[in-house]
């Protein structure tokens, strides 16, 4: 985590990092404010409030890492990995059903349009993280 930074100009991974950090902070806020129900998650074997805490911590850590700490290649790999896991989670969730993960936390109550399209928005974001990560990864491997 404490690797020296070689890419100073903010690029796509950094933008993705900011969004990831925001999503993570939203989850942590939702968990601390008790907005997440303790219903069992259909995909991850733990209650939703713990999922929010667990995922919030990972996202904050990854977001900070991508923005400030990780080398571009590692940041890209991290984003691709987290994007792929989000896509898998969404896919498994569509198969298994159940109460959805409160990925956008309280943001849906502020903007009802987000609630209407929450599933589609989260799937899009998952694909977006994965593609940004994968593309940056390919680009980094091409630099000698």
């Amino acid at each position: 985590m404490s690797m020296p930074r070689t890419s100073g100009e903010p690029g796509l991974p950094q933008l993705a990092g900011v969004i990831l950090l925001t999503l993570g902070l939203l989850k942590l806020y939702a968990w601390s404010a008790g907005l997440v129900s303790p219903t069992q998650d259909a995909v991850i074997p733990m209650p939703l409030n713990k999922v929010a805490l667990f995922m919030g911590l990972i996202e904050v850590q990854m977001g900070v890492g991508v923005i400030f700490l990780l080398r571009p290649l590692r940041a890209a790999q991290g984003l691709a990995l987290i994007g792929a896991s989000f896509v898998c989670y969404r896919w498994l969730h569509s198969l298994l059903g159940g109460t959805p993960c409160p990925c956008l936390a309280g943001a849906t109550s502020l903007l009802p349009i987000l609630r209407m399209h929450e599933d589609k928005l989260l799937l899009s974001l998952s694909i977006w993280f994965f593609l940004i990560g994968a593309m940056s990864w390919v680009r980094e491997t091409r630099i000698k």
Binding site: E9, G11, L12, I127, W128, I132, M135
Partner: protein
């Protein structure tokens, strides 16, 4: 692969081929209905082909050309909704080829597929391309009229200009909504040639337009200006509407179209993109001013958006391709330990990824749902209500229904003055009582009524139960047959439930 990248026509034909396969694979050919206003359109064409003398009383809200064309198809190939749907599909395919011709100077090769993908993946467009409604054929004619004079190097000859005028006349005689293309067409012409030449060319084009319009009007069974001028510009009860905010449900396409508009200046305002921008601006302003847009005309938004989106996404995607196609590159010189990043390239990559992600996340699930819905469409032969109408079809002269697709499925005619009225519910001020008066005048042998509309009215209920017998029902739809035909009665489900003590 090289073959496709070099020949725009092959690329333009791929999506129509997929649409054709979908049409053959799905039950769209024999379905009861694939569109909301389809039944009325088909009933009008059936009336024109079987009783041309009766169409004088037909209340219409659009010109006759579409009805005449579908009627001619019925006479040639037999009366079938599938024929009319195939006509729309062929129109959509022709339109995609015309768009391919217009766009191949802006984006080349396999990227031309994007216009079809963007356009027909949007919710409702797939069904519209297989529905007997005039919206898509009209747009197809209008785009053909534009594409035919698109020749970036040479000025078009007078024959081409005349033909363009004729095609646009056909478009406007199919539905007046095609007139929305006109401002974009003018922009397109003046962008291609300097204004003196453009004015000269427009003279030939105008001759074609006026001549063809006059010929079509002369050939039309009647030109009832009262009905045409009374055509509604406001919302029609029970008719599906298209709301402008629906566009935001396809953020991938919105972003792509936005990026396409961004490309306009960069590419020195190419005529096809300027045409798409002007068309999109026209329909947006009209929909906003009217506060109403029929759902069957939603293609007027999505086609220009798909044109712009194709240019936008193709430009953005080229940056993504450059990452994969380029060989290993040396890191740029480090200045104060900071690597320089190409902002333009980053922006393009961000646009490409965002457009793709949002298209997959928002549009693809809707497209898959629509495919499933298309596959589940009930066929005429499997629909009990259709079979019940068929039992007495031979002894039926008229059938009154607002569900015109059920009458058409059995080739049963609806009285001419009642086809348009039910389609334009409430717009001409007719009430249940005045409607009943017209129905009584025609003495239809069969009535397919809506329990929550006609039968809610006591006068309707009394008259119906006195002269007709209920023979079938499906949800809110109730089929009543004249007592003179001695049909077999069915007990209303309420009575059965009451007898069972439920």
């Amino acid at each position: 692969m090289k073959l496709f990248t070099q020949h725009w026509l092959l690329c333009s034909l791929l999506i129509p081929l997929v649409l054709g396969i979908t049409f053959v694979w799905s039950p769209a050919w024999a379905a009861v209905a694939t569109g909301a206003t389809e039944g009325a359109e088909l009933s009008k064409a059936l009336l024109l082909s079987e009783r041309p003398a009766a169409v004088g009383d037909l209340e219409i809200n659009q010109p006759w050309l579409y009805t005449m064309m579908v009627s001619a198809l019925f006479k040639t190939f037999g009366t079938s909704a599938g024929i009319a749907r195939l006509f729309t599909l062929i129109s959509a395919a022709t339109m995609l080829v015309a768009l391919g011709w217009m766009l191949h100077h802006v984006v080349g090769g396999l990227r031309l597929l994007l216009v079809g993908i963007f356009c027909f993946s949007v919710k409702g467009m797939l069904m519209l391309s297989m529905s007997a409604q005039p919206g898509l054929p009209a747009i197809s004619f209008a785009i053909l009229a534009t594409a035919i004079i698109y020749k970036p190097v040479h000025p078009p000859g007078w024959k081409r200009l005349l033909l363009s005028g004729v095609l646009l006349a056909c478009a406007t005689q199919i539905t007046f909504m095609a007139l929305t293309v006109l401002p974009a067409f003018v922009v397109f012409v003046f962008r291609q040639w300097e204004w003196r030449s453009a004015c000269k060319y427009l003279r030939f084009w105008g001759i074609g337009l006026v001549m063809a319009t006059l010929i079509i009007m002369v050939l039309s069974p009647n030109v009832n200006f009262r009905h045409l001028l009374n055509s509604p510009t406001g919302p029609i009860e029970n008719q599906p509407q298209f709301h402008l905010n629906t566009l935001f449900f396809n953020p991938g396409l919105m972003l792509a179209a936005g990026f396409g508009i961004f490309q306009l200046a960069k590419r020195k305002y190419p005529a096809p993109l300027l045409f798409a921008s002007a068309w999109l601006a026209t329909v947006t302003i009209l929909a906003w001013v009217w506060g109403y847009w029929p759902e069957s005309e939603m293609a007027q938004f999505y086609i220009p958006m798909a044109m712009l989106g194709t240019a936008g996404f193709a430009a953005a995607f080229s940056s993504v391709l450059s990452v994969f196609q380029a060989g290993p590159v040396s890191a740029q010189p480090l200045q104060n330990s900071v690597r320089q990043i190409d902002t333009h390239n980053e922006l393009n990559m961000l646009a490409a990824v965002t457009i793709f992600a949002f298209w997959v996340g928002f549009t693809v699930p809707d497209f898959v749902a629509e495919l499933k819905q298309l596959h589940r469409l009930p066929a005429v032969k499997d629909n009990e209500l259709c079979l019940s109408i068929k039992e007495n079809a031979k002894s039926t002269k008229w059938c009154y229904t607002r569900f015109a697709e059920y009458a058409f499925a059995n080739h049963v005619l609806i009285p001419p003055e009642l086809i348009g009225l039910t389609q334009l519910d409430g717009k001409y001020g007719q009430t249940n009582t005045s409607l009943l008066k017209m129905v009584k005048k025609n003495q239809p042998e069969q009535l397919l009524l809506a329990a929550n509309i006609e039968l809610r009215d006591q006068e309707w209920k009394t008259w119906t139960t006195n002269h007709y017998i209920l023979v079938d029902q499906d949800g809110e739809k109730e089929l009543w047959v004249s007592r003179s035909l001695h049909p077999q009665n069915i007990q209303p489900s309420n009575d059965i439930l009451r007898k069972l003590g439920l």
